[in-house]
């Protein structure tokens, strides 16, 4: 009886040893495979490559990948057009209105290949891995469901709900006024 108690305690303590994986650099073949997204002919939605699932969808659930995405967001000047998610020259992410659908592949394709009306292609400026990290992060800004993984906290003053608190859901619950009246009351 006593031994099993000790064993249980030890197991609980041992579980503390598990730490989230930090993938500093992907193997080149894996990175090359991650670039092979199968998009629909209109460039919207599609299927991520098999290796994306083999890796365990790290760009949506891994705090390190999300943090890297957040750093890339500021390094590559995303805020120039999209602000801190509220939009500006470019569309907003915070309202959860995804012009090309909310799937990670669509966001990945938007960043990699660019989109009409001003979104430049970042194919030559970001590695495939960085593009996925950034896409995963951008997706959390307009997420409808809260995540367990969160990127690093802002150093500057908070201007919107944190990424892991499903900002889109919070903003939509605030009132009946749609943020895009021209596009209908619901996303």
């Amino acid at each position: 009886m006593k031994a099993s108690g000790i064993l249980l305690t030890l197991m609980v303590i041992l579980s503390g040893c598990q730490r989230e994986e930090r993938e500093l650099r992907l193997d080149p073949p894996v990175a090359a495979a991650l670039d092979q997204v199968a998009l629909m002919p209109n460039g919207i939605s599609g299927a991520p490559p098999q290796v994306y699932f083999a890796l365990g969808q790290p760009y949506e659930a891994n705090a390190y990948a999300l943090s890297e995405g957040k750093r890339l967001y500021s390094w590559f000047g995303c805020a120039e057009c999209h602000g801190k998610g509220e939009g500006g020259v470019g569309p907003a992410f915070l309202d959860g209105w995804w012009l090309y659908g909310p799937e990670a592949v669509s966001i990945f394709a938007s960043i990699r290949d660019g989109r009409p009306h001003g979104m430049p292609a970042y194919r030559d400026k970001l590695t495939t891995e960085q593009t996925w990290q950034l896409a995963g992060y951008v997706r959390t800004i307009g997420a409808y469901s809260a995540r367990t993984a969160a990127p690093g906290r802002d150093d500057a003053k908070q201007t919107r709900p944190a990424e892991n608190r499903s900002p889109a859901a919070i903003l939509f619950d605030e009132g009946p006024t749609p943020l895009h009246p021209d596009q209908g009351p619901e996303p």
């Binding site: 500093l24 650099r25 750093r71 890339l72 590559f76 000047g77 030559d124 400026k125 590695t127 960085q130």
Partner: protein
């Protein structure tokens, strides 16, 4: 004899750490020398106090307690002697501590009231490197560099310290004491090297993941060498070279995201987020003391900065192998 040898060897080994290019016990600048005298004086006084206390303790342990009579009967003479001993002890403590306080006060005041500076340098602490800007004057052109500060020997240098993101601390143990760099205010430190040489400095306030890799060098040159250095540094980078690889490197640098964060004077690269690279090949180290500047280390750094210095603010920029070689050659040519 053997015991003495055994004790002496570790002592000598420890003492060997007291000199070198980053040691407060090997002071080569006036402020650092004043601080060194202060700490050595305090240690000497404390050693004397410790010896006196141990001597008194030893004597008390060895002395036999005199036979006592009735405990409530007071012996006038003994009482007075005990009182004198206690009062003398307290007085000695007060005098010593007051002496320390006064010495410390005088030293720090003399550090602040240093002679008027011949040169003003603005140092901005960033995560995790040092942005250095020399204020212009008649004999001194405005120039920007990073992680390597050159000063003339025997001249007082005013260093204006500013924080940019978090609190850092500027510390060149061989030349001066510590001074914090606080966002939103300017702190001033006066530095003076009495002997030419290269002194290493280090951030002395924990500032994040790569705090340990936030070092810099202070190079103290004689007046002529310093003037030559300043003239070279103030000039723009060479506009073209005879090596096609270097020209290709410049082209790649300007067309890739590099130019968004780094400035190279004389080209269209005007970024201010990262270190000024106008003469990066002439600095002794790259990435704030992480690696010595060689063609190989430059290429390694550009190829994968996040693995060499995880968490730093330089993203990996995808480059083809020949582009990487060209950019590294270009960086290394920027003397």
């Amino acid at each position: 004899m053997r015991l003495a040898g055994r004790l002496l060897t570790p002592a000598l080994l420890l003492l060997s750490n007291c000199s070198g290019w980053q040691s407060a016990l090997d002071a080569q600048g006036t402020p650092a020398q004043l601080l060194e005298q202060l700490i050595l004086g305090i240690i000497a006084a404390c050693a004397v106090v410790w010896l006196a206390v141990v001597a008194v303790l030893g004597r008390a342990l060895c002395r036999r307690r005199p036979p006592t009579g009735a405990p409530l009967v007071l012996d006038e003479r003994r009482e007075r002697r005990m009182m004198i001993a206690v009062v003398a002890g307290i007085a000695a403590t007060v005098v010593t501590i007051t002496g320390f306080t006064a010495a410390s006060f005088m030293t720090t005041r003399s550090l602040a009231a240093a002679s008027p500076a011949d040169l003003t340098i603005k140092v901005r602490g960033k995560q995790w490197w040092w942005d250095v800007e020399y204020a212009g004057s008649a004999s001194q052109p405005v120039l920007k560099t990073a992680n390597e500060i050159h000063i003339p020997v025997g001249r007082s240098v005013r260093v204006e310290l500013e924080g940019d993101d978090v609190i850092h601390s500027f510390w060149v143990p061989s030349l001066a004491g510590k001074q914090d760099l606080i966002p939103g205010r300017t702190n001033v430190l006066t530095m003076r090297a009495e002997r030419s040489g290269i002194y290493r400095g280090q951030c002395a306030e924990f500032c994040g993941l790569q705090h340990a890799h936030m070092a810099f060098l202070v190079v103290a040159d004689d007046a002529d060498a310093f003037r030559d250095w300043a003239r070279t540094q103030a000039g723009p980078a060479a506009p073209e070279s005879s090596d096609p690889l270097i020209d290709k490197g410049r082209e790649v640098f300007l067309s890739k995201p590099c130019a968004a964060c780094h400035a190279i004077r004389g080209t269209s690269a005007k970024g201010v987020t990262g270190p000024d690279l106008t003469h990066v090949g002439g600095r002794r180290y790259i990435a704030a003391g992480l690696l010595p500047t060689t063609l190989g280390s430059l290429a390694a750094w550009i190829a994968d900065p996040q693995t060499l210095k995880p968490g730093n603010n330089m993203p990996l920029v995808p480059l083809a192998p020949e582009e990487l070689r060209a950019v590294a050659a270009y960086m290394s040519s920027l003397k």
